[in-house]
């Protein structure tokens, strides 16, 4: 892989990732050593800074991600005001409710409760930063566990998770007794 292709891959990966990407992850994906990845990253960062561009790469929380340049904040403010349909769907809300009460929880467990596949709800919630990965479950496949974020609390105006309404245990602990999957 040549130098500019490696930079392009780097750019694509940082762009598409839901969370900041670490040098280690980049090194695995590109099959390049840390030093090379760091040099590529430095160059890419430089390019975004030098050229008059709207975005830049920033190091946060031990990883790299794209952010908009602060000088264009006013325009992004305007983007906020352009009305666009973006409330959470009821499906996403239901998934969120289950995660909130039963965290940490795996995708498969959520699907058992909701009776439908929840990949899409999870993607939306991850994208909106309302949930995050919260480790992995012991056992076969070591599936990802999900939990809610600080932003989740903010979104619902809660001070802490303790403020969630108390729900009779079995409502959310219950395996779904009816089969919703029959086609």
């Amino acid at each position: 892989m040549n130098w500019s292709k490696a930079k392009a891959v780097l750019e694509a990966v940082i762009f598409a990732s839901s969370e900041p990407v670490t040098v280690k992850e980049l090194s695995i994906i590109l099959a390049l050593n840390y030093e090379t990845v760091e040099r590529l990253l430095a160059e890419l960062k430089e390019e975004y800074l030098d050229q008059q561009r709207g975005i830049q790469i920033k190091e946060v929380a031990g990883g790299f991600q794209f952010v908009t340049k602060p000088e264009y904040a006013d325009y992004l403010e305007k983007l906020k005001k352009v009305p666009r349909p973006s409330p959470l769907s009821q499906a996403a809300l239901e998934t969120l409710a289950i995660i909130a009460y039963r965290q940490p929880i795996t995708r498969a467990e959520i699907e058992t409760i909701r009776g439908v596949r929840v990949d899409s709800s999870l993607a939306t919630l991850l994208e909106r930063g309302l949930i995050e990965e919260a480790g992995r479950k012991d056992g076969p496949g070591r599936p990802i566990l999900y939990g809610t974020t600080k932003k989740f609390l903010k979104y619902f105006g809660l001070k802490s998770l303790d403020e969630l309404p108390i729900v009779d245990d079995w409502v959310l602990n219950q395996q779904l007794p009816i089969d919703l999957t029959a086609d």
Partner: protein, 254 residues
């Protein structure tokens, strides 16, 4: 009439990966295409036998045979019976289906379904193609904060609803536990219709009333899911007169 190549070897059943068909029409189309026969001139006897053989194989493997397949089997047998009845002799091209041919309706359905499969396979190609383009999923951008307000279902949040449901269960549970009423099957769709029918008679129904006649856990959970579904589809509105007051379900107007 062209003769269908008979495949009696057991292996065929395995090759036709069991339960991969999306429905009876899918299976029927597969049988027709495998036998390389004209869709307008289906040898109904053979095809019916093969269809039934497939259902038997499924049963043999303890796979659940869906009602849709059984319905189609019945339809095929009905057509077969009608085909075997003597009919007035009419001079026609043997390759085309006559007006009163009992197969006509089936042929039309199959042709229509063939188009569905065509479009579905095109959609699948596009899906595969589109999946190579990854959109942004993270990063810090101010507009993501736009949604920082609680969304409500009508005027009541989902949390209120879950809480209400939980309180309701607490009061219902002792009764539900005691009564050994045989479990029934509940369809969410059916319960949704039931709720909507109730709302057609009365414009507003209290949350409690909605669940009052239910006699099992299954029924309560299914009804709650049906209610959530109706809220999601914006068919009903959930309101609360005052904090901690009775929750009321109303028809979504507009």
């Amino acid at each position: 009439m062209r003769k269908i190549k008979r495949r009696t070897d057991k292996q065929t059943s395995y090759q036709v990966k069991l339960a991969v068909f999306t429905g009876p029409l899918d299976l029927l189309l597969h049988l027709i295409e495998r036998a390389e026969i004209d869709i307008y001139n289906i040898p109904i006897v053979e095809i019916t036998d093969q269809f039934l053989a497939y259902l038997q194989t499924m049963e043999f493997f303890d796979l659940h045979v869906a009602a849709d397949f059984l319905l189609m089997a019945a339809t095929l047998m009905q057509i077969k019976a009608r085909m075997l009845l003597p009919r007035p002799v009419v001079e026609t091209d043997a390759e085309t289906v006559e007006e009163d041919d009992p197969r006509l309706e089936l042929v039309e359905r199959l042709l229509e379904y063939k188009k569905v499969k065509e479009v579905a396979s095109r959609l699948q190609e596009w899906e595969t193609e589109a999946r190579r383009f990854f959109p942004r999923t993270g990063g810090y951008f101010p507009d993501q904060e736009t949604a920082a307000t609680a969304e409500t279902a009508g005027q009541v949040t989902l949390w209120d609803l879950v809480q209400a449901f939980s309180a309701l269960l607490e009061s219902l549970l002792p009764r539900l536990e005691l009564e050994g009423i045989p479990e029934e099957e509940y369809s969410i769709q059916g319960l949704m219709e039931k709720i909507m029918n109730g709302l057609a008679r009365e414009s507003r129904v209290s949350f409690r009333t909605l669940f009052s006649g239910l006699t099992s856990r299954k029924a309560v959970v299914a009804s709650f899911l049906a209610l959530l579904e109706l809220i999601r589809m914006r068919k009903v509105l959930v309101q609360q007169e005052m904090t901690f007051g009775e929750i009321v379900i109303a028809r979504w107007e507009g």
